[in-house]
């Protein structure tokens, strides 16, 4: 297992980076939608 991780460390870092970016992206999208809902509530 350790050998596999060492041999493929670049792909492991790539996978972690992509997952991190996807998490940030969808979190920001959800946050934007929530803020829009609150802004609409405030206007009405």
């Amino acid at each position: 297992m350790y050998q596999f991780l060492q041999d493929n460390s670049l792909y492991l870092v790539l996978a972690i980076s992509l997952m991190g970016w996807a998490g940030i992206f969808f979190y920001l999208k959800r946050l934007g939608a929530r803020i829009s809902r609150l802004e609409k509530q405030d206007k009405s």
């Binding site: 670049l10 792909y11 870092v13 790539l14 980076s17 992509l18 970016w21 992206f25 920001l28 999208k29 946050l31 934007g32 803020i35 609150l38 802004e39 405030d42």
Partner: protein, 229 residues
Amino acid sequence: MKVFQAILGFWLTAVILCAFLFPIVPEITRWYEFPVIPGLEQKARILFFHVPLAWTSVVGFVVSVIFAIRYLRTKKLDDDIRSSSAAGLGLLFCALTTITGSIWAKFSWGSFWNWDPRETSIFVLLLIYGAYFALRSSVQEDDKKATLAAVYAIIAGVTMPFLMFVMPRIIASLHPDPIINTQGKVSMNGTMLTVFLSSLAGFTGLYFWIYSLTVRLARLEFKRSSEGE
């Protein structure tokens, strides 16, 4: 806004894929290969994230100064919200720069922290902007808080270029500079430079997306707290 978000999503995904999948080779024969940077080798890949994070923190601090000056001229609390939001994001990106830099330092120099001039200057910058938020939280009255914070943000903004760009270049440092060195020469090939500049653009876009969300959220908080009084 949705189009911007979609473009940014694809853009930064492409940057991440290129940064990790394009091979680093001693002799370039194909368009998608990166040159070996002596002393950095595979570690050079962090350049595509560490430098754009530092750049984005500079953008945050500059935006903070601009709105601090605007607040002092107009006395509109909305400018104070914009200034403090920008400073907060600048501080966040500065902390991320420090973390990625420490990871880089661990693999290049053997330890996470070495009190190198560049590390020391970014640490001082973190303290300066940390004190900005301590100052804001110590004053209750909105107008007084905004005025004090605006003056402080301008002073902090003046120190920022010195700490980020001048000090690390006038004192001998372990920090690598064969990529963008003191003579201003860029030792990258076209592909590497394209990915690097794309990363800078992507991170700047990400900054402005988060900034717009932070400002909208701060406005809502301010509106609700002033209605509650």
